[in-house]
């Protein structure tokens, strides 16, 4: 009995001390390990980038964890990871409370789309900003409401109750969508406001893009908002939205990239910009950047250098993976501006950019 116990204890002890050896410091020839975390929206692209970049640089191991934008920002501020990713740019207050200067690197573009379940209607529905706000404020409760009819004069809308579906979990998708509504509707701005967990006046809450997609697909006469990728992958109808120039625009890679290109002059030096309600005839009005967050002054030279190289690769070569994963690529001008931004990343005052 005792002998057996002793052996077990010895085995456990050996295991513990062995695992201790592995967590030791990095030696020469060892893999360079970089840890990132944040936005779940950008996760499929990040995993693709990590694996493709890993093929080119066998000594680098990057690990990206999809824990949500809020978590990414938090962990960057606590310096537990080398880079974070977020769907929403950090606020001024957030940046101020960080231990050192954080820079925003736009890596890809996303869009939030309106999708609906109306079996009787085969045409693509059109929505003006005021109509969208009224639907999500609970002021439009039926599909044959005059305001929806006015946007869609040629469509025979069913006389059915309209059910709103929104995200119940905190998400960048909700933040982008409510940011748009706050810009186009003063009433929305005052009553609900913008944020990752808005308190919607009406509707059902679905968990995650998949939860919202599932509820819309399964419940007749519903309308909701999801990331473009989810609507495309699930072959759901997507509404055209009237943009600032007065044109009804269908979301796709071109119109989303357009929104970024049209906003390039309004984009400030720190690259934090809201693309919602963008100007330009062919700009989709609910587009947004996904940002990677890194410290301008990198504490570790090797890690910093690798990180800078990875991000430079991502915004140049990495863009070609965007469309197959349903993201919109950055416009050329933005790639240039982002490159100059990455060149500012330094270690002890020395730029880490190799090219």
């Amino acid at each position: 009995m005792f002998g057996k116990n002793l052996i077990t204890i010895l085995i456990i002890g050996t295991l513990i001390s062995a695992s201790g050896c592995f967590s030791g410091r990095r030696g020469k020839g060892d893999a360079i390990k970089i840890q990132g975390a944040g936005s779940s929206f950008v996760n499929p692209l990040m995993q693709k980038w990590v694996s493709e970049y890993g093929k080119l640089n066998s000594n680098v191991r990057i690990d990206y964890q999809s824990i949500g934008s809020g978590g990414g920002v938090k962990q960057v501020k606590e310096r537990t990871i080398q880079f974070g990713a977020t769907d929403v740019a950090m606020s001024d207050a957030d940046l101020k409370s960080a231990p050192s200067e954080i820079i925003h690197i736009p890596v890809i573009l996303g869009a939030v789309v309106l999708t609906y379940n109306l079996a009787e209607v085969s045409q693509t529905l059109r929505f003006s900003p005021a109509t969208i706000a009224d639907i999500f404020l609970g002021k439009i409760t039926r599909w044959d409401d005059e305001r929806i009819k006015a946007d869609n004069p040629d469509v025979a809308l069913p006389s059915a109750p309209l059910t709103v579906v929104h995200r119940s979990d905190g998400s960048g998708t909700s933040a982008v969508f409510t940011n748009y509504l706050s810009k186009v509707s003063p009433e929305w701005k005052e009553k609900v406001g913008e944020g990752t967990s808005p308190s919607f006046p009406v509707g059902l809450g679905g968990k995650g893009n998949e939860g919202v997609t599932g509820q819309i697909k399964q419940t007749p006469n519903t309308i909701g908002y999801v990331e473009l990728a989810y609507a495309v992958k699930n072959k759901m109808p997507v509404g055209e939205i009237k943009n600032k120039a007065g044109k009804y625009i269908l979301p796709n890679f071109a119109t989303v990239t357009n929104a970024a290109a049209e906003s390039i002059n309004e984009t400030p030096d720190d690259l934090r910009v809201s693309l919602t309600d963008a100007a330009g005839a062919d700009a989709y009005p609910i587009s947004s950047y996904v940002y990677v967050l890194i410290y301008k002054d990198q504490p570790d030279e090797i890690l910093g250098k690798t990180l800078v190289d990875f991000l430079s690769w991502g915004i140049n070569d990495g863009q070609r993976f965007a469309e197959s994963l349903y993201y919109a690529p950055l416009p050329q001008e933005m790639v240039k501006r982002t490159s100059t931004k990455i060149a500012l990343v330094s270690h002890n005052g020395k730029s880490l950019r190799t090219q």
């Binding site: 009995m1 005792f2 824990i67 949500g68 934008s69 809020g70 978590g71 920002v73 938090k74 957030d94 109750p161 059910t163 119940s168 979990d169 905190g170 998400s171 960048g172 609900v192 406001g193 913008e194 944020g195 990752t196 967990s197 808005p198 308190s199 509707g203 059902l204 809450g205 679905g206 968990k207 939860g211 599932g214 509820q215 399964q218 419940t219 519903t222």
Partner: protein
């Protein structure tokens, strides 16, 4: 402690370990490890309570008692109230237990008292298998199968016959409190069934034989067996209730996630566990996080109170039935 005294004596008599025998005798080590295990449970509970109270202190200070009765949950404006969530948690769990208890009793009695072994064995195995299915699977099934089914075939006739009751008003979308309660019932039925079956099997055969010998019918015999097993059955129901209160994924996917108190069971609702799962990852700001952690604390306390109440209630009921038996 008379038991331990007894073992000490036994040790002393047959010892071969020399002067250290009192401290390092196998029985002492055995007893010590058992005590340590038991103490660990208490420590974990205490540690959780302390950490949760500490982390939610900001919110407790800010809202005080108002947090428990507040009905608004608006992270953007920084207003937090827990009442709709407490209501949703309790009502959905009660619906689940009300549906699951008779169902599980029926299945368990069938397995133990009626079914031939060739059916009881595989069915018992199936029940245990159901208990092991991850809740996210139940949730997906609920979205794609249960909710549309209830919306098309169950809710409309329910509304036409019982629509005058406040519980069945409004448009049934298939997603809401009632569907949440039903999916919970389906999830806790296997657990209650499995435990009740084991409890019924533990009732001595002699009792059944005695009842039958006295001329009791099968139904009367079963009633006697059930009465004798009542405390075990109570335990099974409480176990189910506990799981229903804490269940997160499946409910979140189907309950509609709307913090409101509505009499109609067709309306969307929200539970404490769901709001924590939904909002914790993206919660920014100290007060928001603190409010969410206070929700954890409330869930902890609600579970404690509801379980205690259920235990008291069932204890009083089982005393009565035992008197009848």
């Amino acid at each position: 402690m008379p038991k331990s005294l007894h073992t000490d004596n036994l040790n002393g008599n047959g010892s071969e370990m020399g002067s250290n025998r009192k401290l390092f005798s196998s029985d002492n080590i055995y007893r010590f490890s058992l005590t340590a295990c038991a103490a660990l449970i208490l420590l974990i509970v205490a540690a959780m309570l302390i950490v949760m109270t500490q982390s939610s202190w900001l919110s407790i200070k800010e809202f005080g008692f108002g947090f428990l009765v507040g009905q608004v949950w608006d992270p953007i404006k920084g207003e937090f109230g827990a009442l709709p969530f407490i209501y949703g948690t309790i009502v959905s769990s009660v619906i689940a237990v009300l549906i699951a208890t008779p169902l599980s009793l029926g299945v368990a009695v069938f397995l133990v008292e009626q079914a031939p072994k060739s059916i009881a064995r595989p069915m018992g195995f199936l029940v245990e298998l159901l208990a092991a299915i991850p809740s996210v699977v139940y949730g997906l099934w609920a979205i794609f199968v249960l909710a549309p089914f209830l919306r098309e075939y169950i809710f409309p006739p329910l509304q036409t016959t019982l629509g005058w009751l406040p519980f069945f008003k409004g448009t049934p979308t298939g997603i809401g409190m009632f569907t949440g309660g039903i999916i919970l019932a389906i999830m806790i039925t296997p657990i209650i069934t499995a435990v009740v079956r084991d409890v019924l099997e533990a009732v001595p055969v002699t009792q059944r034989e005695a009842a039958l010998a006295l001329g009791a019918t099968k139904w009367e015999t079963t009633r006697i067996v059930l009465a004798n097993a009542s405390s075990g059955i109570a335990g099974a129901v409480i176990l189910g209730l506990g799981r229903a209160i804490g269940e997160t994924m499946a409910v979140t996917m189907i309950i509609g996630n709307r913090p409101q108190i509505s009499a109609s069971l067709f309306d969307p609702a929200y539970t404490i566990a769901s709001v924590i799962a939904n909002e914790f990852t993206e919660a920014t700001g100290d007060l928001y996080l603190s409010a969410l952690i206070e929700m954890c604390l409330i869930l902890f306390i609600v579970t404690f109170i509801v379980t205690a109440l259920a235990k008291l209630l069932i204890l009083s009921v089982s005393r009565k039935t035992q008197n009848i038996a």
